[in-house]
């Protein structure tokens, strides 16, 4: 990459910080039992969502996993609606019915929040198929972890997307572990990008801790997909700083490894670089942190003020209303 656009980079820094601070607050709220169920945090992986979503427009779609808070936020879902969803209140982006693993926001084309590993891939392929059939130049970005690569649905989806030349951007968030299973203990071929190539899908690995590298790679890939280049695949090499979920003793990796990776914290990396180039000073960073803190506080306040849906409407949304039933003819 040549040169550094300070404004753009600073914006990416702020985006990553919005995710980081939101996630950190979620962890606190979980210990306070304000948030329940399973909670999967994105801390350490922020550069991936920030770099890729920077390159998507409002008409583009996102399909993600249960570790999707950051993706929804950066696709445009208000933090207020995200926090409210985790509180299980009616003001949540899924009306309190989805929770942490199922953030939906049709207006911003966020199609979840899928908690079945690999389950989102076919859906992303279908969204892209609809765009192709309708002649729209929209892109569908599908995020999934490297653990999903072992699932049959990964294989079937890769093949369909390539065979039908569909506008999907596959984003494999390779954080080296699927819960406690290291990549080398789940794949005979650990080079994920090579796997994708076996479907004739252009694919390349990206330093997932360097948001500028992700941004740059995403710009090229999204452009190619949007312009009829068919599916593309990015392997984002990143790391999960925290436990898989809130029920993980982390027996499968040692502290030293985590420490080493933390030295490449995507936020620190970019902040330092901006400082070196004189594009950011402590005051500037403090301003950003202040804005982000205010947004997080506001979101929590919004969620706290949320209202519970009445139990009477428990069975709403099992089918659409009003229903298309017809008179007998």
């Amino acid at each position: 990459m040549t040169g550094l656009d300070g404004a753009h980079a600073t914006h990416l820094l702020e985006q990553m910080l919005r995710v980081r601070r939101m996630e950190e607050r979620c962890a606190e709220l979980y210990t306070q039992t304000k948030i329940r169920g399973f909670l999967h945090l994105y801390v350490g992986e922020e550069a991936v969502a920030a770099g890729i979503l920077e390159n998507l427009g409002p008409d583009d779609a996102v399909v993600a996993t249960y570790r999707e808070h950051g993706h929804a936020l950066l696709k445009g879902t208000p933090m207020t609606a995200i926090l409210a969803e985790m509180y299980g209140v009616a003001e949540g982006c899924s009306g309190g019915r989805g929770g942490s693993m199922h953030l939906f926001d049709a207006a911003n084309r966020v199609y979840g929040g899928n908690a079945i590993v690999g389950g989102g891939l076919p859906v992303a392929v279908g969204l892209a198929l609809a765009d192709k059939l309708a002649g729209r130049d929209r892109v569908t970005a599908c995020f999934f972890g490297e653990g999903a690569v072992a699932e049959g649905e990964f294989h079937e989806s890769m093949n369909l997307a390539a065979l039908w030349d569909l506008p999907v951007l596959f984003c494999c968030e390779n954080n080296l572990y699927a819960m406690g299973t290291a990549l080398a203990r789940s794949e005979s071929q650990t080079d994920v990008a090579i796997k994708a190539a076996a479907y004739e899908i252009p694919s390349w690995p990206v330093d997932g801790m360097d948001v500028l590298a992700v941004d740059h790679a995403a710009a090229r890939a999204v452009d190619a997909v949007r312009n009829g280049g068919g599916p593309h695949f990015l392997e984002l090499r990143t790391y999960r700083f925290r436990a898989h979920s809130m029920f993980d003793a982390e027996r499968y990796r040692d502290k030293a490894e985590v420490r080493t990776w933390r030295e490449r914290d995507p936020i620190d990396l970019l902040a330092d670089r901006l400082r070196q180039e004189g594009l950011l000073d402590d005051a500037g960073l403090a301003d950003i942190e202040a804005r982000v803190a205010a947004e997080v506080d506001g979101a929590v306040a919004f969620a706290e003020a949320g209202t519970l849906e009445p139990v009477e409407t428990l069975t709403r949304f099992v089918t659409s209303e009003p229903h298309a039933g017809r008179e007998v003819r």
Binding site: F104, G119, P122, E156, F317, V318, T319, R329
Partner: protein, 326 residues
């Protein structure tokens, strides 16, 4: 009125749907170049081309999931799973996505997809190719389950199903494709929420659907000869079940026999029996009786398969055991 086969009626329904609505397309294994595994889609590729009559690889989970995604994207896919036996490979997509997306999203993401598949036994296809799992699917909230059993329903249910904003599964019994019947060409889209009384009767309600409707009807004729006036109810939809039609019939006949090709234990007939008992216990002259398939993986040998399936004599015996026509 014109005589046609169930197969042709189904094909005409799809042709009609694709002509009427640009958003409708058909996707599945061998629906195109092969001419359809059971020749249901024969000729559609020639009329609508490979984009709208889309052959898929052997990837049940991915192409069903792709249908779900296409529906979210504004299309109206008809996804054909060659047979219910292979639908097990797509079950995750159907149960965890198609059936749940609307709810999980708080009402934002409805999935207007129609998934068609052949079901049933009777052709000596053995244990892996003879399942009747429509009753299983009827367990899942968020799905609508249709079982067309007449040429009119084969021809006209699809229209209404495609207008449904939510997922609809259509089960077509393999034994019905060759069945001929009088088609009401002027009928138009039909109600898909109600059961139909195919034969009026006063003595016993024979409740069935899909592939066993001919069995129930034949049994009713035989019973008439024995002086027993049987009412035959074609459920048409297994989810939601049309309690009203079922219960109003039983209220008149005070006796019910459910005929179902599924294995007896945990079959949809168990649900129907339980509901009738819950709602009409004091009206019943006898416990609800079930005539189902024997609980065995379907054997290949013809005589064993025939013995395993619910047939006319089994229905007659069930009615006799209620003290009728013995």
């Amino acid at each position: 009125m014109a005589t046609t086969t169930y197969r042709e009626a189904m094909r005409e329904a799809m042709r009609d749907a694709m002509r009427r609505d640009e958003r409708v397309f058909l996707m599945g294994e061998d629906v195109g170049a092969y001419g359809g595994c059971f020749a249901v889609s024969l000729g559609l590729l020639e009329e609508f081309g490979p984009e709208r009559v889309r052959d898929t690889p052997l990837s049940e989970s991915a192409f069903v999931g792709a249908g779900i995604g296409a529906a979210l994207g504004g299309m109206r896919p008809i996804v054909e799973i060659m047979t219910v036996n292979f639908s097990l490979l797509a079950l995750d997509q159907i149960v965890n996505n198609a059936a749940t997306l609307l709810h999980m999203s708080g009402g934002q993401c409805n999935v207007p997809i129609v998934i068609r598949m052949t079901t049933g036994a009777g052709r000596q296809l053995a244990a892996q190719h003879s399942h009747s799992l429509e009753g299983w699917y009827a367990h899942v909230p968020g799905l609508r389950i249709l079982t067309p059993a007449t040429v009119d329903d084969a021809r006209w249910m699809l229209w209404t199903a495609l207008e449904d904003p939510d997922p609809v599964l259509m089960f077509e019994h393999g034994g019905l494709y060759g069945m001929e019947g009088e088609l009401d060409e002027a009928l138009g889209p039909v109600d898909i929420t109600r059961a139909a009384v195919r034969r009026r009767g006063a003595d016993v309600s024979v409740i069935t659907y899909g592939g066993t409707l001919p069995v129930a009807t034949a049994a009713a004729e035989e019973l008439a000869a024995r002086g027993v006036d049987a009412e035959v109810i074609d459920l048409r939809t297994l989810r939601p079940l049309d309690d009203e039609t079922i219960l109003s019939s039983v209220a008149r006949t005070h006796r019910a026999v459910v005929v179902d090709e599924g294995w007896r234990t945990g079959s949809i007939s168990a649900e129907i029996s339980a509901r009738i008992t819950e709602a009409a216990f004091y009206d019943l002259d006898a416990p609800v009786s079930r005539v189902c398939s024997a609980e065995v993986p379907m054997p290949y040998a013809r005589h064993l398969e025939e013995a395993a399936l619910p047939r006319v004599p089994d229905v007659l015996r069930a009615v006799e055991e209620m003290g009728l026509g013995g």
